[in-house]
């Protein structure tokens, strides 16, 4: 050992040190010695990282980049760094309410230098919690039971799934009735089939498809939830069952492409269904309509005197890379003013509905200063917009509730891009189509 080194408690100092002419003798060159880090246990990190898919949990090196971009941290206390640190200090993620708060929005993965991937970690950890018989939040349990029993999380009768069609005002072919091939199979999904405001957007979209002369059909009562959010909430078995049934149903019909209303269905078809043998060419409706803009534009004849802002759905943008199509459609609307929110595109905020959040609303709300949807509505209001444009069916109910709970009723409307396009085409009025 260097004899000039002396130990002052746990600190090393060199009596005499002159570096490049600067005298840094004594305390000026003080260094800390090695010490054993003893104040945490890796066990609870291993508990998560040993689950298939959740390995990256252990890679976190606590840089903290993920925390400020985490939408849950903005309204609470969250982020992968914090979950890792809590596990170090003896809080098991499996037994903590934290397990259910991540919306799998993927914003942390975007900035994480170590590729710690909550989109994989969360479903694996949640599945482990379910399989080990830990209780789950009651609202989520109900949604999962409904999905298993009825094929939709709302607990609506399967036969009613195609009932909205009678209000569409244009023919909406249902494949089990028409028995002929179609070019576009429209995967309507649950909220657009059952939720009143979802139905408004479905009717608008049906009229647009019809006006464009698109050869399309829906599965109607044969369609079941694509299941992606249930998977992310930890119910892989349920997801597999739905995927197998949907793939079996789809194999009965001839079609060229699938167009989906719901970005969560887009994600399921693109990334998960191929693993179960379902290979399809899948488009989000905004992508399809943006491609059709040359034919669509001349039909957009009505001026819309609205000030718009747009919310990027996590599962359309960050998860599937589509940021431009919705904006192209918005910009094609005659008469509108469009302002971006500060958090947009890759750094878009999250409505709170993803990854099972749709069915954890009260659970999460009780643990946050305000809902993610409320935070986003305040951001939209601050742009001066009178209309918040959306293109994911989870958002309309979440944001409309948030508009009310933040006291902005009458000042901000929430409308699907399809509704605005249909209005500009004169296919629906300013009020929801069905009202």
């Amino acid at each position: 050992m260097d004899s000039s080194l002396r130990k002052v408690q746990d600190v090393w100092e060199q009596d005499t040190a002159i570096v490049e002419g600067v005298d840094i003798s004594g305390p000026w060159n003080r260094m800390f010695g090695q010490r054993v880090i003893w104040d945490y246990t890796p066990e609870l990190i291993d508990e998560i990282a040993s689950l298939p898919g959740a390995e990256s949990f252990a890679w976190c090196y606590q840089c903290g980049k993920c925390v400020p971009v985490c939408p849950v941290d903005v309204v609470g206390d969250y982020g992968p760094r914090k979950l890792y640190r809590k596990a170090q200090t003896g809080i098991s993620l499996l037994d903590s309410p934290d397990l259910w708060l991540c919306t799998t929005c993927m914003n942390c993965l975007r900035v994480c230098p170590k590729q710690v991937d909550m989109v994989q970690i969360m479903p694996a950890a949640r599945e482990q919690a379910l399989l080990s018989g830990r209780p789950l939040p009651a609202e989520l349990q109900e949604a999962l039971e409904n999905t298993a029993r009825y094929g939709n999380p709302l607990g609506q009768p399967p036969r009613k799934r195609e009932a909205w069609v009678k209000d569409a005002g244009v023919p909406v072919p249902i494949l089990h009735q028409i028995q002929r091939p179609v070019e576009w199979l429209w995967w309507v999904e649950c909220y657009p089939s059952y939720h009143p405001r979802g139905i408004d957007a479905s009717i608008a979209l049906a009229r647009i498809f019809h006006a464009l002369g698109l050869d399309f059909g829906i599965l109607g009562r044969e369609e079941k939830c694509a299941g992606d959010s249930q998977r992310l909430a930890g119910e892989r078995g349920l997801f597999e069952m739905l995927a197998e049934e949907n793939i079996r149903t789809l194999s009965k019909y001839e079609f060229h492409h699938i167009v989906v209303t719901d970005p969560h269905a887009l994600n399921a078809f693109r990334k998960q269904y191929p693993k179960y043998g379902g290979q399809y060419d899948v488009w989000h409706y905004t992508t399809l309509l943006a491609r059709e803009l040359p034919r669509l534009r001349p039909l957009l004849t009505r001026q819309l005197p609205y000030r718009l802002t747009f919310h990027d759905p996590c599962y359309l943008g960050r998860h599937n890379g589509e940021y431009d199509a919705p904006r192209q459609l918005i910009e094609a609307l005659p008469g509108v003013e469009f302002t971006e929110m500060p958090r947009c595109r890759q750094n878009s905020y999250c409505c709170g509905g993803g990854g099972g959040g749709m069915w954890l609303d009260s659970f999460a709300a009780g643990r946050q200063r305000r809902r993610l949807s409320e935070e986003r509505v305040l951001e939209a209001v601050a742009t001066g917009a009178d209309t918040l444009v959306i293109c994911c069916p989870y958002e309309v109910s979440r944001f409309e509730d948030a508009v009310k709970s933040t006291g902005h009723e009458g000042r901000l409307r929430v409308r699907d891009i399809a509704e605005l396009l249909a209005e500009a085409m004169g296919l629906i009025g300013e009020e929801p189509a069905k009202a």
Binding site: E127, L130, L131, G133, P135, L136, A138, Q141, L144, E145, A148, R149, Y150, G155, Q156, P157, P158, R159, E235, R236, G237, L238, E240, M241
Partner: protein, 255 residues
Amino acid sequence: MTLAVILKQVPDVVEELAIAPSGTDLDRDSVSYVVNEFDEHALEEALLLREATGEDVVVVGVDTTGELDQALYTALAKGAQRAVKLVGDFEGSWLSTRALAGLLAPVIRELSPRLVLTGVQAPDDLDGQLAPTLGALLDWPHTGVVVGTELADGVVRVRKELWGGIMLDLELATPAVLGIQAARATPRYVPVGRVRQAMRESTIEEVEVETPVESAPKLSRLRAPEAAGRAEMLTGSPSDVAERILEILRARGLY
């Protein structure tokens, strides 16, 4: 020792029920079935007892729908040890509670359980006759509207709901038959993967039974309830509606 739980499937009313052309039956092609909600609670209560005492849970049902397996496998996935299915020529008939109890009694006696748990009532047993009828046939003590149980030496302590929120604690000698109103916890969730695993790995025991000859009254016509036409739709602003509600309540002396 075992705890026997009786599971029964009933038509799911989420989907609108249709009457068959015969006019005396539901249109069975369009009916889907669910486990009677109170039976779900009976199973949960039995699983909670098992966690406390280590008893085996056996689920028993009469397969009147041809679809009982799903319910039994789900119960096995939740933590039951055995499933017994009574099969026979039941198609196109609804078993009365009496007939059901008659079929179940010998099978249950054979199982010699410490306790029999069933739902307090069912949509086709609104009077909650299953537990008392079984109790009578087996000559075992019985009670209904149970909201909590605890097993002790030779007895079961039960909490029973009376009226107006009054609870009654009583002790029954075992074996006993209980009609469960609510388990102490919400019926647990079972992941679909676990149910599928149970379908692959466990077996349901089958017992052939004779179709009972019933002396029950014969059904002559089934029909949907007719709207009474007494509903008044209140319209206007929330305060108008509230005002009108108060008026109605006052007129009936309820406010």
